[in-house]
Symmetry: C2
Subunit: 104 residues, 2 copies
DNA sequence: CTCTCGTTTCGATATTTAGCTAAACATCGT
DNA sequence: ACGATGTTTAGCTAAATATCGAAACGAGAG
């Protein structure tokens, strides 16, 4: 959960996802659209991979990245939904645990 | 946009929002549920305020925080929606501008 | 005036993050 | 073996974050 928001909190990574929304693309193809160095791009890819927002598929000598739309959707929609967006008393899956005891 | 994901990327702030989903609460009431210092809590509140996810209302000597559900919803749902979640060719409002020219 | 609530500032530290260059590496295709 | 594609590591900035304690400060309530 944190990892998704973390990944999404960087503009470059959001741009990568938006690029990917048009379809799968190789790492090189994506990197070509940005001004950053290769290692930096690889790091961004790693963050996106770890958040499970993209899937890396090895195709020959290149790596094809796929947007995992369903993961993105489920994470964000699920989060919003847990806020009772339309359903009041919905506790749903609490992603975080409280700090102190509810003081009863 | 960035500010929303930024705000959401911190567990403490997410917990604050989840607390607030039960209804408005004073800063002190909220702070009492966390182990962090007052200045730190105030900082978190400031981040949430800046992301426009909460509204601070001065009531007497205390400050009541309200969750801005609509803002949270619109931000996240809007973002997801821009990914064609259900509508393929939907460019929608691009929150980020590309780095390089589209190479035509 | 004093007390309470909450914010803000000060000074300090620790961690994380984004970024770079350079070089090494693993894979794969030719 | 060689060249291309990516990832990873190393080593290093620079900036942002998160945290603290202590103290000052503004606004209201009594």
């Amino acid at each position: 959960m944190s990892s998704v928001f973390k990944a999404l909190s960087d503009p470059t990574r959001r741009r990568v996802l938006q690029l990917l929304r048009a379809g799968p693309m190789s790492a090189g193809e994506i990197a070509a659209r940005f001004e950053v160095s290769k290692p930096t791009m690889s790091a961004h890819f790693a963050v996106l991979r770890e958040a499970d927002l993209v899937h890396a598929e090895k195709a020959g000598k290149s790596v094809i990245y796929h947007l995992k739309l369903s993961v993105l959707e489920e994470a964000l929609l699920g989060f919003v939904h847990s806020f009772g967006a339309g359903a009041e008393g919905s506790r749903a899956v609490p992603d975080d645990i409280p700090d102190k005891e509810p003081a009863t």
